[in-house]
């Protein structure tokens, strides 16, 4: 049963039309973009017959491929680190009390609510001041470190929600049944919070693959990610190559959504 009473008559019609328009608004641009990526016309928004040329150009473009490969490396590296740190942090916050807990909790929230631009400025100045001290040159290291800095928070929020929904007594039951602390974690806690960890990891992956602003500020010459590379191309002058690259990025996003929905499905059937 739905919680709210069902509207009737004219208001119901209006509401359903509104919803239809919202979905049209959401999906028409995406579908049009996909269509135009096959268009044989240098003007990106005008149909000029079917072609696969732009995808061919993408495959042949050395800098595009390099940027794509960079993006993947950074996304994977930052996801792994942020999943480990974020999960440990989530467990600490949900299961323990310790000195500095409130400060940690607040600090963990900040990267989520701080505007991209501000965070970009923060990382730029930080690496400008400390690059010498840390021995880092702008590129893979600076981008990955920055991505981890915001991903930890998102991972921990997702994992925390999962831990909060888990009955604490399951761990006690495991210990009561002769499991050591580690065994209780390994055989009970970990499998039960795994959907949260996977969900958090997918979110971290998506955020890393999405980011333009922060990456642009900490990327070095000749070392950039695909979104920043594409963003640069758009500002230099649009070519249909961008349509093709965009569709590839779009498909990557879709694959991640599908995965995360699948994970969520596992989540709901598990707790049933």
């Amino acid at each position: 049963m739905s919680g709210v009473i069902t509207p009737r008559g004219a208001s119901r019609t209006l509401l359903s039309i509104n919803s239809l328009l919202v979905f049209l608004f959401f999906y028409a641009p995406i579908i049009l973009l996909i269509i135009f990526s096959f268009s044989d016309n240098r003007n990106v928004g005008v149909w000029g017959g079917f072609t696969l040329d732009w995808y061919g150009e993408f495959a042949d473009s050395q800098p595009t491929r390099k940027a794509l490969w960079n993006s993947i490396q950074i996304a994977v590296a930052s996801t792994i680190v942020s999943v480990v740190l974020g999960t440990l942090g989530a467990l600490a916050l949900e299961r323990f009390t310790f000195r500095g807990k409130q400060v940690f909790d607040a600090l963990l929230y900040l990267p989520i609510i701080i505007p991209d631009v501000t965070m970009a400025v923060m990382m730029l100045l930080f690496f400008a001041e400390l690059a010498g001290v840390l021995g880092l040159s702008k590129g893979f290291a600076t981008i990955t470190l920055s991505h981890i800095a915001f991903s930890i928070s998102f991972v921990s929020v997702v994992v925390r929600a999962r831990i909060a929904g888990m009955d604490e007594r399951l761990e006690e039951a495991a210990m009561d049944l002769y499991a050591s602390r580690w065994q209780a974690f390994r055989y009970v806690t970990l499998p039960l919070i795994m959907p949260g960890i996977l969900g958090g990891g997918l979110l971290a992956l998506t955020l890393s693959l999405d980011d333009v602003v922060i990456t642009q500020f900490v990327a070095g010459p000749g070392w950039t990610t695909l979104p920043v590379f594409v963003f640069g191309l758009i500002r230099k002058g649009v070519t249909p190559l961008i349509n093709a690259v965009s569709v590839v990025m779009l498909l990557a996003s879709m694959a991640l959504v599908a995965l995360s929905l699948f994970v969520q499905r596992v989540r709901t059937t598990d707790s049933a």
Binding site: R169, E172, A173, A174, D176, Y178, A179, S180, L192, D270
Partner: protein
């Protein structure tokens, strides 16, 4: 014979709150023992301390003579049936039941074999591969039992084991638990807030309130001879009349009426007299039998309810309403609201407890 569980001077504080206040308790081997009290009385904390899920702030806790107060739960020969069962949702029934054996290093095939025996014992054969989410509440309860019992615990702890079941299933499980306990001969210690459940199932009952252990005894002892006002009030229904002790055979009620009531308290002690509603006789004013005059009071009926198996009168005695329960057949002459009445009772029916 060593006691299964021996608690001496156990206190548990959570910050400022004293959850369990210096209790002493012995639970015998093979006993069905209940801990009863309102929520927050410390019964669950006590159970969790026996299980090792909380460490006492101080005091001695022995299981079959061995001090275990500082041992973690996985080092104690006791197992627990948790409230709402806490079954592992991601494991099959078989894996749930064999979990404890596996953690102790039993081989997988041996653990599964023993799990199979326990699953048979609790009559769940055929459901081994199901997940807990696919079982009914009653079946989950049995899995929880099997999961704990497969480890051959020296004491089985049960935290509100029947609380999640509906009434009919609860009564069925009460009988099953009781016969299972008899069959196995292992001590069962269970925590409940439901006095009827405690009275019907257990050999002995400990009544707790506000962290204190108020009385330990059989159902009959608690009902007939409560040690204090709380137990008298909590176990069954009763009328409590405030009074002061006059001498060892007489108390004075709040309105000055003297009542014959043998008691061990020194004169001047504030007490309460407990009168069970079914122990009171009622009749028209002045109908009191001569030998009951010293244990009678006058009042006015303020309400009468017919409950089929009994008639319940509310009788106003000066300053307090008393409940009187009579057999509807015996009282042909029905009294109604406004009637002047007398009530009386046998000398052995009243029971004086210290006030607080």
């Amino acid at each position: 014979m060593t006691a299964a569980v021996e608690i001496a001077g156990i206190t548990k504080r959570f910050g400022e709150v004293v959850a369990v206040d210096n209790i002493d308790l012995q639970i015998d081997d093979g006993e069905f023992f209940a801990m009863l009290g309102p929520s927050g009385c410390g019964k669950t904390t006590t159970l969790r301390m026996i299980a090792g899920l909380e460490f006492p702030t101080e005091g001695s806790l022995k299981i079959f003579g061995n001090e275990v107060g500082t041992l973690p739960p996985n080092k104690r020969p006791v197992n627990t049936v948790f409230q709402n069962y806490a079954l592992f949702p991601h494991m099959s029934v078989r894996d749930n039941v064999s979990f404890g054996l596996r953690m102790q290093g039993t081989t997988k095939s041996e653990a599964n074999r023993r799990a199979g025996e326990l699953i048979e014992l609790v009559q769940l054969t055929g459901l081994e591969s199901r997940k807990p989410g696919q079982l009914s509440g009653g079946q989950q309860q049995r899995v929880a039992l099997a999961r704990a019992l497969v480890n051959k615990p020296k004491v089985l702890l049960l935290d509100e084991p029947l609380g999640a079941l509906d009434l009919k299933l609860r009564q069925e499980m009460q009988n099953e638990l009781k016969s299972l306990q008899r069959e196995l001969g292992v001590s069962f210690v269970f925590v409940t807030h439901d006095q009827e459940e405690a009275l019907t199932m257990s050999d002995r009952i400990a009544v707790m309130d506000k962290g204190k252990l108020l009385q330990v005894g059989t159902a009959e002892e608690l009902y007939e001879r409560p040690l204090n006002r709380f137990v008298a009030d909590f176990i069954g229904q009763t009328n409590l009349l405030d009074a002061t002790v006059a001498d060892d055979d007489m108390i004075v009620l709040g309105n000055g009426t003297k009542i014959k009531a043998p008691n061990p308290h020194s004169p001047g002690t504030k007490v309460a007299m407990s009168l069970r509603p079914e122990a009171i006789e009622i009749g028209r004013r002045g109908d009191v039998p001569a030998d009951h005059v010293a244990t009678s009071l006058n009042g006015v009926v303020s309400a009468m309810n017919y409950l089929g198996h009994s008639l319940v009168y509310q009788v106003k005695i000066d300053w307090i309403d008393l409940e009187v329960r009579t057999d509807p057949v015996a009282s042909e002459d029905r009294l109604g609201p406004g009637d002047d009445v007398s009530i009386w009772w046998d000398r052995t029916a009243d029971w004086v407890v210290p006030d607080e």
